[in-house]
Symmetry: C2
Subunit: 353 residues, 2 copies
DNA sequence: ATTATAAACTAAAAGGTTTAAGCTGTCAAG
DNA sequence: CTTGACAGCTTAAACCTTTTAGTTTATAAT
């Protein structure tokens, strides 16, 4: 029954299906399928032959058919918040790179969607979930009482959270330790002799912000410094908001000598505001960031910040999510990565030398 | 035959299929499908009823079944070059945002994959194509004799190119006018009185680089200035490469008074090199970039550059690709967008005032 | 009264894969 | 010689939707 020659090449262009292979090798479609998937109820010889023919014919499985049948998509979902048309946070770029690379390693596709933050957000999530387009979801920047997490959890849809999330919820997550980061920054500033340290925090609905605040507060306590509530202010993730916040802080009668911010992009805004008021950053006033994004290296002056291994976090989160989807045992639900301090000129102009 | 009550609600959780609806309304599966898709051979009343029941039952079509049947995926592919683990070019972030947003508008999903540039690249492309995972592909940073374009073209796979591409190939593309951008920069520098203008160009295999070079050269000619070949040097898209290139330029006996670069990130490297050699950027030496990425605004000093509307380019490219896939007539194959000059302190320190 | 036409549907196939269940033949144990 | 076990297959169903090619019924035209 073995055919060779033209017949076997016939379908070399166009879409070769299991049926085509079955015809050539003279076995059933099921046998071909099972041979290619290495089931053990197909003879050694037959299996080898089928595989060879499949290779020669250039067989590529039709993913849609597989997905329909297996009721799984081998695809992960990631929804990026796009605030303004003009680009988005470099944090997400790095995260995306980590996730996408790792997903590829596991044979998963990555579906990326965007949405403007707000009420439409949850729709974007449910659309991907309900549409059975993806097997699992990556959630970023978790909030207290996060509706996204609630929905995913309730529907028992596999997901992983990137960033600190509500410890009351037992959800798989990979995060940097914001509190530890804040502590590193404050200790650095205390060492430099600062006593009046202000904080521009990210929005309070983020779990991250709370942890950052707690780390900040505790570090001050530990240094024997008071926590002045009017030295603490919130800002969204934007340069503009950072500018506004710093302006407010610096217009007070008693100005701080250091401004800790919970995000690099906010720090950039804060630096701009301070500079506009005549401060020399790194000398009259110290500003620090969080994230160690590309921006912090090239800012003016370069920004002292907390290095968060975003790429690695993306990778680990992806690995965890894939394990989850495959039903493999997941060792540690909550993976915490220690960030590190990167000292640049914005905290110590002497480094210019 | 109309059922109401529990039966209709029975499947409200879990996956409602056409069959379930058909049973409830007492019609055939085909009728339900045709009603929901607004075919005109279903009675007005029936159609309304079916739609209502579908809504009540929370019916969501199974995309995999649709895709298998329709032999299309309603998904676009984008492959991001990831050079180093540490983040990627902000250019791609902005592009991604534009493409993803627009794709969503058209009801398309966006599949994002990454690959390290090099020989593995073409595999990533063929994998997506051959796997029938996507209906169309976005190609970025086209090169002369671009293998990706060749493969896509040869297989008649729908695609759109973002960025200048080989004019000999009749391929759909959306691009900024690099030559025009170069001209704007040179004219600006000439106006500032510069006569010794160097160029750090991007790698010559990119069509962009050639166009940028031609614009640069022509603008010099027009200004009556000579084109000195040893003032022209190439660099990859990295800060490091920009640093190296500028170092080379500035180590020559006759140093330029202005360095034009073909990319912001290269410009940042060039500035760093110049600063390390004691130049005051914007005064002793002028450096310009291309792209107007986030970085350029926050660099030290802020970078005079060419604004490329990357987000918009992403949107337009996506629209074009979708039209192409749907077989709609595409008006202009080649869409060229004029960039504009953004003057910051790196070319004119007086702006500091 | 017959035929043509249109409206409103239905049955079945197709899209490609995987899997549950069943079948055949061989060999060994009883 | 029977029974059982096992290897190595095959058949048919399932996944869910869309489309092709009818079929039925009612109405209009002849």
């Amino acid at each position: 029954m073995r055919q060779t020659g033209p017949e076997r090449v016939k379908k070399i262009r166009g879409d070769v299906t299991l049926k085509d292979i079955a015809e050539v090798v003279g076995k059933s479609v099921a046998a071909v399928s099972r041979a290619l998937n290495d089931h053990d109820d197909i003879g050694e010889e037959t299996r080898a032959y089928i595989k060879q023919v499949a290779r020669e014919m250039g067989y590529i499985p039709n993913p849609m058919a597989q997905r329909l049948r297996k009721q799984s998509t081998d695809t992960l979902g990631l929804i990026l918040p796009v605030f303004s048309p003009k680009s988005f946070d470099p944090y997400f770029s790095e995260l995306l790179a980590g996730i996408a690379n790792e997903a590829g390693q596991h044979g998963f596709d990555l579906l990326v969607s965007t949405c403007v933050p707000g009420p439409a957000e949850i729709q974007a999530y449910t659309r991907l979930m309900n549409g059975r387009r993806i097997d699992g979801m990556v959630v970023t920047r978790p909030r207290w009482n996060d509706e996204r997490v609630a929905v995913l959890y309730e529907k028992e849809f596999p997901f992983v959270v990137i960033g600190d999330c509500n410890p009351a919820q037992e959800v798989p997550c990979v995060t940097d330790d914001a509190g530890f980061g804040a502590r590193l920054v404050v200790e650095h500033l205390v060492q430099l002799g600062h006593e009046k340290i202000a904080l521009i925090n990210t929005p309070r609905e983020l779990v991250f912000s709370t942890n950052f605040y707690i780390g900040f507060r505790d570090a001050l306590h530990r240094a024997g410094l008071p926590v002045q509530e009017d030295f603490i202010i919130e800002a969204d993730f934007s340069q503009k908001e950072g500018y506004r916040a710093a302006q407010t802080l610096l217009s007070r009668p008693d100005t701080p000598t250091a401004i800790v911010t919970a995000d690099d992009i906010i720090a950039l805004g804060a630096m701009a505001a301070a500079q506009d008021q005549g401060f020399q950053i790194g000398n009259d006033l110290v500003v620090t960031g969080y994230g160690d994004s590309l921006l912090s290296e090239y800012s003016q002056p370069p920004l002292t910040t907390i290095h968060r291994p975003t790429y690695t976090i993306g990778q680990k989160a992806c690995t965890k999510l894939v394990a989850f989807i495959k039903g493999e045992p997941v060792a540690d639900f909550r993976e915490v990565i220690e960030p590190s301090l990167v000292i640049r000129q914005s905290s110590d102009l002497a480094l210019w030398l």
